[in-house]
């Protein structure tokens, strides 16, 4: 069935019309290589500079601190691996949390195989890291703290400013994966004490395959891709000009109407959460009740399994996601749901509904209606559910 209601904005978003329109000329008539000296090339260079400036201004950064990458995963990999490599004479210890995106976790695991030590901080039942545990974990071998801004599964927003403060006091670099926070939270990198920050365009109505790493001036970090002189010799490769333009446009749109976006999404999300809780029993909300992304509603629905739920929702034209292990055919449910202390069988029944700029109240009503039916049907065939 064709998708009637898209409720997976945290997975990716459609490209907004204004964004696509801004990109098209850079595929067709304005195709010059930004490294070329002739006018067609200089025009591309100028466009990249302007895009970089737009993004920097929104984040309170200097344009020279914004480095374009192919997305959030590359930005995470770069920040962590290249700070580790560049500072290994200072120390070999990295601190992160148990609920990071795999782009951070698997990178840390890779570094563990190459002589680095990693502390994975616990989180509480709401997904919050403990600042005291963080402080205690810092040793004189610690070179980097990497804690995500907002979690992609349960939506919890961390106390970034305080974490940055602790890092700065101890002279340790602080990287944050802000892929989910960008476009949903006001961010000033200096105010929040951030040294490096990962971003991705396709989560904010921009194109897939483009993102950026903010690197504060003075941070000691190796280049990520060697080659041409692009991105101030730190990330070689002919620039994805159209992608960069689209990313900047998406940022502009997101921050032009941030307040409105947040209040609209928060209202819809709260309605969704309340309706689900009122109409379905044995449901719990995952993540922090207040400190959460405006569009994130993450549930555990007991006695049923996530993949079966998603397939049924799909058949009703609803796009959603789950942290169930069965979604990937693997054994363990999402590490995030495990980290907030959910038992396996409950984590298996997780459902993530994420709302976005095109979500309407009617969509919410439709999803709740269908969800009630489907949950009922699946519970009827569940050996765990006894009325």
């Amino acid at each position: 069935m064709a998708t009637k209601v898209y409720m997976d904005y945290a997975a990716t978003t459609p490209v907004k019309k204004e964004v696509l329109d801004s990109m098209i000329p850079y595929y067709t008539e304005k195709y010059g290589n930004p490294s070329s000296v002739y006018s067609l090339g200089r025009e591309s260079r100028k466009t990249i500079d302007e895009s970089r400036e737009k993004i920097a201004n929104i984040l309170g950064a200097n344009p020279k601190e914004i480095y374009f990458t192919s997305g959030g995963s590359e930005a995470d990999n770069w920040a962590i691996k290249a700070v580790a490599m560049a500072n290994k004479d200072k120390g070999n210890h990295i601190i992160t949390s148990k609920i990071e995106h795999h782009a951070v976790l698997h990178t840390c695991e890779y570094l563990e195989k190459h002589g680095f030590e990693v502390t994975y901080l616990d989180v509480d039942e709401y997904g919050m890291v403990d600042l005291e545990q963080l402080k205690k974990s810092i040793t004189d071998k610690t070179i980097l703290i990497s804690i995500m801004f907002a979690n992609n599964e349960i939506g919890t927003i961390q106390p970034i400013k305080e974490i940055g403060q602790i890092a700065r006091e101890k002279g340790v670099y602080f990287h944050t994966d802000a892929v989910q926070a960008v476009g949903n939270v006001k961010i000033d990198v200096n105010e929040l004490n951030i040294d490096m920050m990962s971003m991705s365009a396709h989560k904010i109505y921009g194109p897939k395959g483009i993102g950026a790493l903010y690197i504060k001036k003075g941070v000691k970090i190796d280049p990520h891709i060697h080659g041409g002189a692009q991105e101030r010799k730190r990330r070689a490769g002919t620039e994805n000009v159209a992608g960069i333009v689209g990313f900047a446009k998406a940022m502009e749109l997101a921050y032009e109407n941030l307040e409105e976006h947040i209040s609209k999404l928060t209202k819809l999300r709260d309605k969704l959460i309340n309706d689900v809780k009122n109409k379905i029993d044995y449901v719990r909300l995952n993540g922090h009740p207040e400190k959460r992304l405006p569009g994130n509603a993450s549930f555990c629905i007991e006695f049923i399994e996530g993949e079966a739920l998603l397939l049924n929702l799909d058949m009703a034209g609803i796009a959603a996601s789950s942290g169930s292990a069965c979604t990937s055919g693997s054994l363990d449910p999402s590490h995030v749901l495990m980290a907030i202390g959910l038992p396996h069988e409950i984590a298996h029944g997780s459902l993530r509904l994420t709302l976005g700029d095109f979500t309407t109240e009617k969509d919410v009503d439709y999803v709740v209606e269908k969800l009630v039916e489907i949950v009922d049907r699946l519970r009827q065939m569940s050996p765990l559910y006894e009325k």
Partner: protein
């Protein structure tokens, strides 16, 4: 991802439910692994006259439960014992490789129910001598 046949059995699973006073009941899997299958058999004169199931698990788990019940219904115990997970998967037009273990669950649930029947009736089923219903199919 799933074949049409899988989606058909997942959407309209056959024989869902319980049998009051079943002659054999088998439960396999483990909620920790995210899947539990419960199989109810009605057996008369060595023939499975009715079968019902309940499943907590993914689309493949539900579809294989459904297909397995269809394959054993009306069959003798000997015939039912020949319903392997491979057979169930084949009848469904194949399963993604990550989902093959779910079909093992269906095979085991039937065997567990037959074992239960055998125990209750003091019968010895040669083929089930070494069968352990508590073994975790995920770790095969």
């Amino acid at each position: 991802m799933y074949s049409e046949k899988v989606m058909d059995h997942f959407t309209n699973p056959r024989n869902v439910g319980e049998i009051k006073n079943a002659d054999g009941i088998g439960e396999v899997g483990n909620p920790k692994c995210g899947d539990i299958m419960k199989m109810y058999l009605k057996i008369e004169d060595g023939v499975i006259t009715d079968v019902k199931f309940k499943t907590f698990g993914c689309g493949a788990a539900i579809a294989t439960s459904s297909m397995a019940t269809e394959l054993v219904k009306g069959k003798t115990i000997e015939e039912a014992l020949k319903v392997t997970n491979k057979r169930v998967a084949e009848e469904l037009g194949g399963l993604p490789s990550a989902k093959l273990h779910c079909s093992l669950l269906a095979e085991q649930a039937i065997k567990a129910a037959l074992l239960d029947y055998a125990k209750k009736n003091n019968i010895e089923i040669e083929e089930l001598k070494d069968f352990d219903p508590n073994e975790d199919p995920h770790h095969h």
